[in-house]
């Protein structure tokens, strides 16, 4: 304990080290504050939209006189509210859709229309806690820990220190341990405050803290290894450490994403949109019987009600919407499977680069990764399917309109966060 206090007092007089620790604390605090502001804005947006959505549905329902119009004119809000840990790792919530307003029309176009999202954010990334912990913290660790022994040698104190301390190894380990512990505190304190404010589950916060600490230990071990003989000049060690940082924290994550993308090519969202819209638009030019035959082939339960007698019938209209979805289904399926495969490949390769692994793990804890995005999309598809199940008996059996039944329509349930 006295050795720790002695080294702590020495460190407390080292202005450069204190400045680096202050930068770590500030960066983590800003990242947490920014993440908290973002998720609160997203929640507020969802809450405001939910209220508007409910009022609009009531207004639309009051104006309709048949099931088809009610289905056509009504929007349904779907959204995945951010988890209690999303503030720390915004992940795909930054540039992927996390809310939609879906109608009973063909779904694929509605899902993939916002795929373009915010391409500039997708490229630049965001200054969130995961970025600070995965990318910035290693650099601060290198600056704090490089050349602990060699620096003393360059200053002419090495031999006196080791001769006085009796064991150089114990001294350097104590100094490195103290510095990395203080860096961890500087990084984890804002995270703890953010977790308390958000009500993050204790287990999630603890796992995140353990991951951040393990990541810092990796960089501490790297610095110790670079300084193993205490003879390589500190400036050389700094260059070696920064080189490793560039490789593992900057180049490797980009390379991992590039490898995953190259290995698992995806159809573009626009191609899915186009396939679905072409099928839908083509239906206007086809004989109605041709559309209904295609529909009934996949949904034989409606065969007895598939005859279209009037120039326009809602069941025909919604049937060709679904036929349009089914025309785009192979592309859509390939898109989903490709995204999942990319995520798996990237997750495997990320173990080669600890910063990439940390970022992925934090996003998984936060529910902002590809798995969470796909789960939300699946929930939207399930909801849309349930809307069809609710409306189709009324449309195909031509049941009399009863506006008060609209209150029984399915409601969207977000996937568990």
């Amino acid at each position: 304990m006295s050795a720790l206090l002695r080294e702590l007092r020495l460190l407390a007089r080292d202005r450069a080290a204190l400045a680096l620790l202050a930068v770590a604390l500030l960066a983590a605090a800003v990242a947490v504050a920014s993440g908290l502001a973002e998720v609160r804005q997203q929640r507020a947006q969802l809450a405001a939209l939910a209220d508007a959505d409910r009022r609009e549905r009531e207004a639309v329902a009051a104006q309709q006189a048949d099931w088809g119009s009610a289905a056509y004119y009504t929007f349904h809000l779907t959204g995945a509210p951010p988890s209690a840990f999303a503030f720390a790792a915004l992940g795909l919530r930054e540039h992927g859709p996390w809310q939609h307003r879906v109608r009973m029309l063909a779904l694929e176009g509605q899902i993939h229309e916002p795929d373009a999202g915010q391409p500039e954010v997708a490229v630049l990334g965001r200054f969130d806690y995961a970025f600070v912990a995965a990318t910035l913290a290693p650099l601060l660790a290198i600056l704090l820990l490089h050349g602990l022994a060699a620096g003393e040698r360059a200053a002419g104190r090495h031999d006196l220190l080791v001769a006085t301390a009796r064991s150089g190894t114990r001294l350097w380990l104590l100094r490195a341990g103290l510095r990395i512990a203080l860096l961890a505190v500087a990084l984890l304190l804002p995270l703890a405050v953010g977790s308390m404010l958000e009500g993050t589950a204790g287990a999630v916060a603890l796992v995140a803290a353990a991951l951040v600490t393990a990541h810092l230990l990796f960089w501490a071990l790297l610095c110790r290894w670079l300084d193993r003989d205490g003879a390589t000049p500190p400036s050389t060690q700094l260059m070696q450490g920064v080189g490793a940082w560039l490789l593992l924290a900057v180049v490797a994550p980009a390379a991992i994403a590039a490898v995953a993308e190259r290995r698992h090519p995806l159809p573009e969202g626009a191609a899915i949109l186009m396939a679905q819209r072409e099928a839908v638009n083509a239906a206007w030019d086809l004989p109605k019987a041709a559309t209904m035959q295609a529909f009934v082939a996949r949904h034989p339960e409606w065969a007895a009600h598939a005859e279209v007698q009037r120039p326009f019938e809602w069941k025909w209209y919604f049937a060709f919407q679904q036929v349009g979805d089914e025309a785009a289904a192979p592309l859509s399926q390939a898109h989903r499977e490709g995204r999942a495969a990319r995520a798996r490949t990237a997750a495997t390769l990320a173990w080669l680069a600890p910063p990439a692994a940390l970022e992925r793990q934090l996003e998984a804890l936060a529910g902002t990764d590809a798995t969470a995005a796909l789960a939300y999309e699946t929930a939207v598809r399930d909801f849309h399917a349930s809307l069809r199940q609710w409306y189709y008996p009324r449309l195909f059996r031509d049941l009399p309109y009863a506006g008060d039944e609209l209150a029984q329509r399915p409601t969207f349930t977000p996937p568990p966060g």
Partner: protein, 239 residues
């Protein structure tokens, strides 16, 4: 009683070249032993071997009879080391530096004990609360000497201890060394300073190219003859 320090046929290789070649000598308890020699003669290498920083290629080094290679921590516990141009922490004052290094050795000293040590090395009281980065080389050396005194180890290894000290301070330092030896502490110092070594040392070894090439010993009532040592030193260096 085992010698305080003992080198036996000590050979050290540094960078593929022999830095010491079969050096043998011993330092008795209460003795001031000086190693004289020019640059690269192997003086500092000898000290580093006693601290366990350099392993013998052949021969052995022992501290109070214990092999340094087998137990370097014992050697470092029994020795206070004063490196040449001792660089302490420039952003700390004398008290803070001494407190830190004493703590590193597992020791504690109150302000009174530290002041007493700084008085013995004649560091001005007004300077003691100033950061060492504002000190002259000689003042820094005095703080380092004070550290060696405060550790109260039975053995002192001093590498060019009077480097940077003014003549008055050198005289005071030499008197201090004799006091310490009189109190039973053993001193091994390496130096270029023939005059200073003859003033203070009980025995002198002359190193050249890693080999011990001359030995001189004081006799009761008479210090070592400076002119004889100087002549040998110059002759060896110019040979």
């Amino acid at each position: 009683m085992a010698p305080a320090l003992e080198a036996d046929a000590l050979t050290i290789v540094r960078g593929g070249q022999p830095a010491l070649r079969g050096v043998s000598f011993a330092v008795r308890p209460g003795e001031v032993h000086a190693l004289l020699g020019g640059n690269g003669a192997g003086k500092s290498t000898t000290l580093l071997a006693f601290l366990g920083f350099l392993a013998p290629a052949q021969g052995s080094v022992r501290v109070e009879g214990a092999d340094v290679g087998a137990d370097p921590a014992h050697a470092r516990r029994r020795i206070a080391y004063l490196p040449e141009n001792a660089a302490l922490y420039g952003h700390l004052d004398a008290y803070e530096n001494l407190g830190y290094f004493l703590g590193l050795a597992g020791l504690r000293a109150g302000r009174g004990a530290i002041d007493a040590a700084l008085d013995r090395v004649a560091l001005a009281a007004a300077a003691r609360t100033r950061r060492l980065e504002a000190y002259s080389k000689g003042m820094r050396q005095k703080v380092a000497i004070a550290l060696a005194l405060l550790r109260e180890t039975p053995i002192l290894l001093l590498d060019e201890p009077t480097s940077g000290l003014d003549p008055v301070a050198i005289d005071e330092f030499n008197r201090l060394l004799r006091e310490l030896a009189g109190a039973g502490r053993s001193v091994l110092m390496v130096t270029h300073d023939v005059y200073g070594a003859c003033q203070v040392a009980d025995r002198i070894g002359l190193l050249r190219d890693g080999a011990l090439v001359g030995r001189f010993e004081a006799t009761p009532g008479a210090r070592i003859d400076t002119e004889a040592v100087h002549a040998a030193f110059v002759a060896r260096e110019t040979a």
